[in-house]
Amino acid sequence: MFLLGLMALYFAFLAVPWGDANWRARFAFVNVVGIVGFVLLWPTFDVMTAGRVSCPKYIKQRVDARLVAGLDLRGGLRLVYTVDVAEAVKDKRDSYYEEMRRELAKLYADHQGDEAPSDELLSKLRERVTIEAPRSRTHTILLTIKAGQDASKIDMRFVNLFKPDLEMRKLSATEFEFSIRQSAESSIRDRAVAQAKDIVLRRVDSMGLREAAVSTRAEDIIVEVPGQDEASFDEIREIISQTARLEFKLLDDTSPYFETLEQQATPETLPQGLVFQRENAPIGVNEKGEELQGAVTYAYLPTIAGETSQQTYERLREWAATLTPPEDREIGFELVRNLVDEATQKEEEVGYRTHLLRARADITGDMIRDAQAAPDQSSTGLGGWGVQLSFSDKGGSIFERITGDNVNKRFAIILDTKVESTPRIMDKISGGSSRITMGSADPTIQLRDSKKLELVLRSGALPAPITPSNEQHIGPSLGKDSIRLGVEGAAAGGMLVLLFMIMYYRTAGVIADLAVLMNLFLQLAVLASFGASMTLPGIAGLALTLGMSVDANILINERIREELRDGKSARVAVELGYSKAFSAIVDGQLTTLIAAAVLAQYGTGPIKGFAVTLMVGVTCSVFTGVMVTRVLFDIWVRSAGKNKSISLG
């Protein structure tokens, strides 16, 4: 549609009853580019002049190109996050722990194959070997071979299984300490920070905040958002700090754990307001394939007056941390909501409840290929929303196996340690996709939550949690006066160049100046369509490219002068001047482009801004310096008449 309009415009200009076909083609092209440039800049002008150059709504809504002032010009928010790299190290250690336990099960408990050993085998293993992953030392695994067992099985072959990352220390004949090597640890740390930066950047980008800059310093991630919009700052804070760790864990609804707890607990040991409740839960199928139901007890902690639901969650968690769940089980927490209004599905958060989960996550976020917010087909017609997940091949086959083995049981979808939902497995699910239903029943909240979940799942989980460590609202880093001076310097430099060209080349100088102004205009339009932010170095780059962009015209004009001197007619001289100068122009600008591209790769922040402006400037200046001036030159030569001469000063 848009392209069609442009083509129509192009042909309209092509039809002007003046000049030869070549000229008309150029004229039409220049005009179309100019109009596109204007449309791209229109909304920015509107904003900059506070509505005096008003831009029609139609264009404002469709053109999202905006040129915004950078952090150094208008200030903004600077957020510093610290990556909890110790957590990344611990994760790595934990995955080695799993692996080592499997290998030990092979050596001491007759385990076979690469699957995780079963519960039975593990308890058999526990009688023979203790393997420990201490919480206080996040990079070590301790191994103790119990009396009567053959400790010589922990030999070089075993150590070599974990060779590149782990090193072994023999504490005694039966005790071994495996720890992550210093070099491996520092590479885990570096990688965690780099990955976290990438993911934060992706999240910020997908929120449409192109002007935000993300950089790292040691173990800190620095996010700089220009502007003063508190609402968008809040959104950024929320989206960035979500770890987005997604896990699927099976529920254990047959364990009498909470029931026993209820009988044993005295009110003093329980958090204020905690009650035990019972619900009916699906607990699998019997041999005949009939679905079974069972009563299961859980703890429920309602939010007390003057408390946020987050505080309730923390209270419940604190209490749960004092409990000792059965082996290989853990406690999960889910937000409980109450329907307030039947008709609008409005609801309120009333508290948190527990679930007893299997400790091992069957499916984790890295097995997800894609996530997409989608309306709920099976919903009651109220326009519910959920997130459609598609698994990777590995994730899909695991999901198929798990659902096949656990028909009519519940599993928990856990996001950042909170249980989002606990759907019942109705049948074996193959095809590698699943769906997360949002906990809330209010469709607008569902939509909002699913969009957010989609965003964080797509941008990937953070390799380690990040915690905000510093936050600063910063004013413009340069005083108003130095900005004014910088802009004045740029303006003065630009004016000097324009004046100089007129003095030196007269009419041809005016033509070159018009081209330079169009160049400036186009550069701004291109930068706006990148959503670039205008920083002071950026303005410097702009002025500098003005100085350079006359280069093409100097080359051409000098050439035309030479041709005129050789006695060529005005028309031929212009023709030859342009064609002969072209290769020099392209060579010269391309080499500048190479240097600018390297600069853009290397630089961060303001330097990158400068490099991008330089690249855009160089590209635009070839267009304006060659194409635009040519159109004007031809008008001039034609109006000068057939036999009259032209003078280039």
Binding site: S136, D220, G489, A543, I554, T591, Y602
Partner: protein, 395 residues
């Protein structure tokens, strides 16, 4: 208007020896300067602590320097920052950054009762201690809710480590994990203290305008990346010239660029300017501009090759250079005009950037006239003399 008489051919090549000699001396001299005394690297590259302070009354840089050095710091850079709102604004930069040595870390871990053996007097057991890379924060996870005054007491008498004053230090940042954060006085705080001690009362404000630190590791990484990016752009440009013209044009052109970049840095060292990220940006821009000049002349040589059949390479170069002389001077002067405006009006970084570029642009014009072409001719004669004049132009 016409800068140079038309048709006049200047002789650039006859005094080739002299100019190449000068350039050689300049380049070698700059190389020597690079190592002795070596460039004054900015905080970007060297790492260090940087504080900007707006003093309430007039102080001289010498007073500031003396006060800082009395506070056990290395010789600081004291730079007056022009700011109409704060007339006494200074940028003070020292090499020291806050780091906690491994030994100190071990000592702290011991005092917080980390690890297996539990010494006497341990009321709480730390599970994990984390030191912030800036050396201004320590966070500790405890097994049980800790007594903050006990934590505070553990830091008493540790040399070189001081807790920042304030009632909420240390503070519990995570109830569930019993995580405690201890704020230490950073180098920035110490610097401010030194200023307060060394200058008249009431001159030093409570807060610095800005405190910034860069670790030495990050600085070294940036420095390596800077060198790498300059080398990469040289390689790319060389490849482009070789592809567009002829392999034998490339060494002359690139050596001219190396000359420009190295001598610019040399001049900056002589002027006592500091080398930072902005300088690297300026040098890369210079490389881009300078090769532009050289390439445009190469282009003319290629064209004249066909026109002036049988002429010596010497003459070819002189004719081409003379023909392009007005263009070279004109283009460079327009750019230099803009840069001069920035130099005159601009402040701070922008001004330094303009200065570096002006030096580089002037050198670029000189080198494309007196270095690139004569060198190309010299190399041509020396190494390609058998195929001389033939096949210079391929495209």
């Amino acid at each position: 208007m016409q800068l140079f008489p038309i048709g006049r051919v200047y002789d650039f090549t006859s005094r080739r020896g002299l100019f190449m000699g000068i350039s050689l001396v300049l380049t070698l001299g700059s190389f020597v300067l690079l190592f002795f005394p070596g460039p004054r690297l900015g905080t970007d590259f060297r790492g260090g602590t940087e504080v900007e302070v707006a003093f309430t009354e007039r102080v001289t840089p010498a007073q500031v320097e003396a006060a800082v050095m009395k506070g056990d710091f290395s010789r600081p850079d004291v730079i007056r920052v022009e700011d109409p709102k704060n007339p006494h604004r200074f940028l003070i930069r020292v090499q020291e950054i806050s780091t906690i040595t491994d030994q100190q870390q071990l000592e702290i871990e011991k005092r917080l009762c980390l690890g297996e053996e539990k010494p006497q007097g341990c009321e709480h057991h730390g599970l994990e201690v984390k030191f912030s890379p800036g050396g201004e924060k320590i966070s500790v996870r405890f097994e049980e809710p800790p007594d903050l005054s006990w934590v505070r007491a553990q830091f008493a008498g540790l040399s070189g480590i001081k807790l920042r004053a304030g009632a909420s230090n240390p503070t519990v940042i995570d109830e569930r994990d019993h995580r405690v954060e201890i704020q230490l006085t950073s180098r920035g705080d110490q610097l401010m203290d030194a200023l307060r001690a060394g200058l008249a009362a009431g001159v030093v404000p409570d807060q610095a305008l800005r405190t910034e630190w860069i670790g030495p590791k990050a600085g070294a990484q940036l420095r390596d990346a800077a060198v790498k990016s300059i080398v990469i752009s040289l390689v790319f440009i060389m490849a482009y010239v070789a592809f567009r013209f002829d392999l034998r044009f490339a060494p002359g052109g690139v050596l001219a660029l190396v000359h420009d970049a190295v001598v610019t840095v040399g001049v900056l060292i002589v002027l006592g300017r500091e080398i930072n990220l902005t300088t690297v940006a300026a040098i890369l821009t210079i490389i881009g501009f300078s090769v532009n000049d050289t390439v445009v002349v190469f282009d003319r040589v290629r064209e004249n090759l066909a026109k002036l059949r049988g002429a010596s390479f010497d003459k070819l170069i002189n004719v081409s250079l003379s023909e392009m002389l007005s263009r070279t001077i004109l283009t460079s002067s327009t750019v230099i005009m803009v840069l001069l405006c920035f130099f005159i009006w601009g402040t701070g970084t922008l001004r330094d950037f303009a200065l570096t570029l002006i030096i580089g642009m002037v050198l670029g014009v000189y080198s494309s006239i007196y270095v690139a072409l004569p060198l190309t001719e010299y190399l041509d004669r020396k190494f390609f003399s058998t195929v001389k004049k033939k096949a210079v132009a391929r495209t």
